[in-house]
């Protein structure tokens, strides 16, 4: 059952919390490059080192970001749920995934093609700015949390 | 009685005074012997039992290649290793060689220096092997060594203060020799434990317990200068029984710079 499902409509796209308020023209440009996918639990959505070409918005389910290194157990560093987004390496050279993304539950996500999104952000600086205004705080919050996780706040 | 914990006492370069402190616990010696098996204490007994030992007390510093090897053996046989005294904890008075030319020392004392095997430095036990606890003092305080033995026996933390000698002076009601006599004293930068005996006998502390846990030696050295100590005298006051303890070594180095 992994794979694309019912296509997304422009109204659904516009209603998504992360994209809400971006210009209709901008969203319209994205729509052809956007699809909805469903994954079974335990599906690896992305692998560390793979080219990062997509931006994910979670509609349903739960996704874990993991660090996988040979000879060591997998380490989950963050889990994400409905309304949350992941995958921003398409924005940052060299456009490679830095973590594995794996579903913990059956999940439904909206996927936007990274290159197209990049082109649209370039073409519409105003929407681009708004988009980044939403993305950067999320990244900042995760960076803050990661620092405290590194600090090992509950350590003896 | 259950199996008694096994105690060993080891000697490296030292004067024997710290292990003698144990024998000076006249009131407690037989009680200690009842609670622990004194398995290896050559100064006190001809009966030497082989390791492993639950608690090793190590006196003295490492000054010879042979001793550098021997301390590894001691550590390997010891569940807990506690150093006793300034030699074992900071290299002792003999660490003054660390600041000098040992060859010259050797020639000064011995007519046939080639007979003498020694290292260029006198170093603390911690510089060679992991140490579980360091008991300060030149010599150690016998109440403290009993406390450390009891604490290791019962797996609790030894009650050994790490702050300044001044606290002991004040608790004892001793009038400060610096403030009331202008006598140079290392008490403010030296660790408590002796009972502030020097100030109680109207002389300045000479730092035989080594630096306290927050020693502000720069501020204290400048005050010692105001009290009339020349840089050479400031250097000497730090470089005595704990010359190689890091805070005192640094303070001594600063005095050397000051002295030009």
């Amino acid at each position: 059952m992994n794979g694309p499902v019912r296509p997304i409509t422009s109204a659904e796209l516009e209603a998504h919390a992360f994209l809400h308020g971006l210009s209709a023209r901008f969203l319209a440009e994205l729509l052809p490059h956007t699809e909805r996918r469903e994954f079974a639990a335990g599906h690896t959505v992305a692998r560390e080192g793979d080219p990062a070409r997509e931006f994910f918005l979670i509609e349903v389910g739960k996704v874990a970001l993991e660090i996988v290194a040979e000879g060591r157990p997998h380490l989950t560093v963050l889990t994400l749920g409905p309304g949350e987004v992941f995958g921003w390496s398409w924005l940052v050279p060299p456009h490679l995934w830095r973590v594995d993304a794996r579903t913990l539950k059956p999940s439904r996500v909206v996927v936007v093609a990274g290159p197209a999104l990049r082109d649209a952000l370039e073409a519409h600086p105003e929407d681009g700015y708004r988009f980044l205004r939403r993305l950067v705080p999320i990244l900042a919050r995760r960076l803050d949390a990661t620092r405290l996780q590194v600090f090992d706040v509950y350590r003896p | 009685m259950a199996v008694r914990p096994r105690l060993a006492v080891w000697k490296f370069a030292s004067c024997d005074g710290c292990q003698l402190s144990l024998l000076d616990c006249e009131d407690e010696l037989l009680a200690v012997a009842g609670e622990v098996e004194i398995a290896n204490f050559v100064e006190a007994s001809s009966a030497v039992a082989p390791g492993p030992y639950d608690l090793s007390l190590v006196e003295g510093s490492v000054t010879t290649p042979e001793d550098a090897r021997r301390i590894q053996e001691v550590r390997a046989q010891s569940k807990h290793l506690v150093t006793i005294g300034a030699c074992a904890t900071a290299g002792g008075i003999q660490a003054l060689r660390n600041f000098q030319d040992v060859e010259e020392f050797r020639r000064a004392v011995y007519a046939r220096p080639e007979y003498i095997a020694t290292l260029a430095t006198s170093t603390a036990i911690r510089d060679h092997v992991p140490v579980d606890f360091e008991l300060r003092g030149c010599p150690i305080n016998k109440a403290q060594v009993l406390e450390v033995i009891a604490a290791f026996l019962h797996r609790r933390r030894p009650t050994v203060a790490t702050g300044s000698v001044c606290a002991e002076c004040k608790r004892r009601g001793v009038v400060c020799v610096v403030v009331a006599q202008g006598t140079p004293c290392l008490g403010p930068v030296t660790q408590a434990g002796c009972g502030a005996i020097c100030p109680a006998y109207r002389r300045g502390c000479y730092g035989c317990f080594g630096p306290q846990d927050s020693p502000n030696t720069p501020a204290w050295s400048s005050r010692l200068g105001e009290l009339g100590l020349a840089p050479g005298a400031i250097l000497r006051i730090y470089r005595t029984f704990n010359a190689a303890a890091p805070a005192f070594r640094a303070a001594g180095d600063a005095a050397v710079q000051e002295g030009g």
């Binding site: 157990p73 803050d144 405290l148 706040v153 | -």
Partner: protein, 291 residues
């Protein structure tokens, strides 16, 4: 010289006990290994002795005699008389001695001490509880007390963070709580392996979708200072006023009764005025380093 003065002199009665620091004998009635380094102990008093009642958030001073006394918050059910329950994490030698004590071990205990959670401030409001690490222990009596009076307040949102899934306390009870329909318990860990299907991330990561009415809610926080501060700031960001937030603070405690001075935190003696304090009063102080 012990002769009584003839005219003036000693009028006050000589106290016949060791004063407020004098402990009472308890024995370990039951012991549960919570995690690798943490156990819960049920302490029973000597036969014929009473166990003083306590309020959620209070603490006791405990020791295995001769091995060091430490302040440990009470983690038992305030509704259950006749025993004290403590959750102890073996960190130093004193806590190691406590954590290593088996049923029948003699424990010296005294208390309860300090100001607990202002439970009555929850009535009629939504309640957010955020606990981190062993910070769940002092929160447990609060939770039990709240759940006993479930009808008296609104939504209950509990977020509990730990280092790894292996560090979670009260696992069976936690599962039961998470199954409740009248409260939401979120559990998140800092790091996990593939066998963990729960949330991973800091407790603050779980806050954005916590359900409460900021205008009418209270929050009770317990955990490392930095975690509480971040949580409080995030809650404030969601519109919960400072006045509705309480935190439980930690400093060394020795006497437990406000005499020894160890647990000072700015104007507070935490053993006496705390450990639970209004965040409003301490928010600024929590930002001062080395206070």
């Amino acid at each position: 010289m012990s002769t009584a003065p003839e005219i003036a002199g000693p009028v006050a009665p000589v106290p016949s006990h060791g004063g407020p620091l004098e402990p009472a004998p308890f024995t370990v009635r039951a012991r549960a290994q919570e995690t690798r380094d943490t156990v819960s102990l049920v302490l029973a008093p000597a036969p014929g002795s009473e166990v003083p009642a306590f309020r959620p958030g209070q603490f006791n001073m405990l020791s295995v005699p001769g091995r060091g006394e430490v302040a440990i918050s009470i983690s038992g059910d305030p509704g259950r008389a006749g025993e004290w329950v403590h959750t102890v994490r073996a960190l130093g030698l004193a806590t190691q001695a406590l954590a290593g004590s088996m049923p029948g071990t003699l424990i010296a205990a005294r208390g309860p001490y300090g100001q607990g959670w202002p439970v009555d401030r929850a009535w009629g409001k939504d309640v957010v509880i955020v606990a981190g690490g062993v910070g769940l222990a002092p929160v447990r009596p609060l939770l039990l007390e709240l759940l006993r009076h479930r009808a008296r307040f609104g939504r209950l949102e509990v977020i509990y963070g730990a280092r790894t899934p292996d560090d979670l306390l009260y696992a069976p009870e936690l599962a039961a709580w998470r199954g409740r329909t009248d409260a939401r318990f979120q559990v998140t860990v800092d790091a996990a392996g593939r066998d963990w299907y729960g949330d991973v991330g800091l407790v603050t990561q779980r806050l954005p979708d916590a359900r409460f009415d900021p205008a009418s809610a209270v929050a009770f926080l317990c955990g490392p200072e930095i975690m509480m501060r971040l949580t409080a700031e995030t809650l404030e960001g969601r519109g919960l006023p400072r006045e509705g937030i309480w935190v439980s603070l930690e400093r060394t405690m020795q006497c437990g009764v406000g005499l020894c001075g160890h647990c000072q935190f700015g104007p507070y003696l935490l053993c006496r005025d705390g450990p639970v304090l209004p965040y409003r009063d301490v928010a600024r102080l929590l930002r001062i380093r080395g206070l």
